[in-house]
Symmetry: C2
Subunit: 253 residues, 2 copies
């Protein structure tokens, strides 16, 4: 059996997330049905993250085991020919037999984009959360930095209905955040929250983004971020920011 690694980008807008659901458009469902035709194999894709409905990816990674002898470059071409333009396979390569896209991930980078214009362009609106009100970026940057390091992120975790993962206390909610910062792209008026961490709980980045927005709007003080973390209480953090702003940028192994 070969173990193949796939590097995948997608516009998540019109999908009900990564994970297969009967009779619903999902990234996994779409990929699996195309892979089945090409590989003539019963296949199970493992993704680094099962991104939520509406969330995008520029650098999702998945792997699967197959007995098919099809060369990687032919498989990539056949997949891109058959998939909708909203899903692109940027690479297919042979992985070591034990490579596991989810368990072997050392770090992931997510970006949350906030569009700071009065009227959002329809060419950007699918990929950013529109916030016309002024945001205090230095307050947001200060709060974002407080998340760096190893913390229990229970306050930012929603319970995942599909997996029984953290949020329901079945495993640790401690994660290490290597980098958590805010930057501003003046040309497009997009405020970006970028976070690189060892792993993320269900909806954690969107819950952090929602909290940073409250801080940027002056509803919460930047220092409150530390107290929200300590409280281990989801009710203390801000609301979940909309999925459209979130993108899984890169997975590191």
């Amino acid at each position: 059996m070969r173990n193949l690694r796939f590097d995948i980008a997608y516009d998540g807008t019109d999908f009900c997330g990564w994970q297969f659901q009967p009779r619903k458009p999902t990234i996994e469902g779409c990929l699996a049905s195309v892979l089945k035709k090409i590989l003539k194999d019963h296949t199970h894709l493992v993704a680094s993250s099962r991104t939520d409905a509406g969330v995008h990816a520029a650098g999702q990674v998945a792997n699967l085991r197959t007995g098919s002898p099809i060369p990687c470059c032919n498989l990539q071409r056949a997949l891109n020919d058959a998939l909708p333009l909203s899903i692109r396979i940027n690479g297919v390569q042979e992985a070591t037999p034990d490579f596991h896209a989810r368990y072997d991930a050392k770090a992931k980078i997510y970006r949350y984009r906030i569009l700071q214009v009065r009227i959002p362009s329809p060419f950007i609106a699918r990929f950013a959360h529109h916030v016309p009100r002024a945001l205090d970026r230095s307050r947001m940057a200060k709060a974002a930095r407080l998340l760096e390091g190893e913390h229990d992120f229970t306050s930012f975790a929603a319970s995942d209905p599909a997996s029984g993962e953290p949020g329901n206390h079945s495993e640790s909610s401690v994660r290490r955040i290597f980098m958590s910062r805010i930057f501003w792209r003046p040309r497009t008026s997009i405020l970006v929250y970028e976070v690189r961490g060892s792993g993320f709980l269900y909806r954690m980045v969107r819950n952090i983004a929602g909290t940073l927005l409250e801080i940027g709007l002056g509803k919460l003080e930047p220092d409150e971020m530390a107290r929200i973390l300590e409280s281990r209480d989801r009710a203390r953090a801000g609301p979940t920011a909309p999925a459209r702003g979130l993108c899984l940028v890169k997975v590191e192994y």
Copy 2:
């Protein structure tokens, strides 16, 4: 009666063009149903161009007459609240009583975007035509310039099934092209064909883009552009380039 001017942007991907069609998603249909609720008026929108299915607009202009007293800024806000994010109203203003978005247009600018990468990003794919093969940009630029001036564009006109406009010889196919050029955006690997003219026949820009692509690929010589114009024969020009690459950028009055 007031005469209102609307500046409109849209992602045309999921619409069957500007013009109303029963039981089909169209820009006009979507706008008209929202306007009817807000203005409580029987309204008829006139657009500068009835863009085709899948074609985008950054600066479409339309006007309508209404007896409603609603202030322009309230109308703009109510429209943007009710419309999908794929359609945005960038401005609403009082126009002179005789302003007509279509007949008064002095010039229009269109851009046709060609994405020159091996694998198109799903974040750009809706708004550009993907051509992975190398294109000779200087040949395309030379051919593009040959279109400047006043010409009979019959060779680049398709017959418009909806209107009986040029293509079926019911009126002149002569148009003045003020500017016709190719430029390259290295950061995004997008080749742009930009054209500014007094008016355009049905599918004219896409037929020009398709011909420029044949020239860029070496299938036609740049000088052939002049002979295609002279021939007044649609069969001599290249195929119609896909709608996704085309955007109505600006209308001048």
